[in-house]
Amino acid sequence: MMKANSPWVFLPLAGFVLLALVLGSGLGRDPQELPSALVGKPVPAFTLPSLLTEENFTEQSMTGRWQLLNVWATWCPTCHVEHPYLLTLAAQGVPITGINYKDELPAAREYLANMGNPFTHVIVDEDGQLGLDLGVYGAPETFLISPKGEIVLRHAGELNERVWREKFLPLLPSRTSDVGKEDGA
């Protein structure tokens, strides 16, 4: 038998504690919340049509001001829940670009007509290719885009008052009224 005072007897205990710490740290996390691989990178290049006008949009339309990029679809129940809060933000002057993600276009137009349109413009991503380039894995997802067109934050899931305060506001220029203005203006 090993002597009780041998340091090796504590090895299994130490291993257990270490493992418990590592595994335990993951318990409180939301498994759907993946790390944002795109933070700090520019919005990927795209040329896509508008839902409501005859224009085409490119990644250039994402520069020049702080704005949100919101991925939504009529088939997404959480998007319906989130919609009123997007309208609130838009009413406060926050520019939001919508990406209509893998949706039926007539249904999408009807949805905005009925529920109100919080978007400065809506880009149609019918086959989900821009979504893939953005690392989108479901709707809704909201990106915070800097005036340089860089992704500053990605939030998967519902955007609401609490998320806005905790995640978005700290990253924005000091006053909310600055949002939407030219960088450095």
Binding site: M2, W8, L11, G15, V22, Q32, A37
Partner: protein, 147 residues
């Protein structure tokens, strides 16, 4: 009525077939790479399935993209890199060794090492005790043999 049932039953396999995506490849090697890569990439939506196994819409988009990139002549590293740069290390079933994943790689190694050391020490103690026991036995035996 029975005829109709037989007819509908005969149609079932066709319906199942329609759900399978068909991809065209320039060579059997490309097809092998496609199967290997789609097994190796994890569906970010369903989380515990590869994109080859998953029926999720996103998994199909990702398979389409893998197919497209293979046909374009992209390398395996470029394809996996494309997805990792968007969905993070999470998307790969073979995570790279870096600061964040090091603990995943180190813990099993440390446990193996610790367990090995423990076993070696236990075995040494046991054999040392057995030796002692043997010499004691011998001593007693000798005593019995020659009083």
């Amino acid at each position: 009525m029975i005829l109709l049932r037989i007819f509908l039953f005969a149609l079932l396999p066709l319906q199942a077939l329609a759900a399978i995506d068909v991809y065209q490849f320039d060579s059997p090697q490309q097809e092998d790479r496609f199967h290997r890569l789609t097994e190796e990439l994890r569906c970010p939506k369903c989380q515990n399935q590869s994109i080859a196994d998953s029926d999720a819409d996103l998994a199909r988009d990702m398979r389409d993209r893998v197919h497209g990139m293979i046909v374009e002549g992209k390398s395996d590293d470029e394809i996996v890199g494309y997805f990792v740069s968007r969905y993070g290390d999470f998307v790969s079933y073979r995570p790279p060794v870096n600061a964040r994943t090091s603990v995943l790689w180190l813990i099993p190694l440390l446990m193996l090492l610790g367990g090995g050391v423990l076993i070696v020490r236990l075995l040494r103690k046991a054999s040392a005790q057995a030796d002692q026991q043997d010499s004691n036995d011998d001593g007693e035996h000798n005593r019995g043999e020659s009083p």
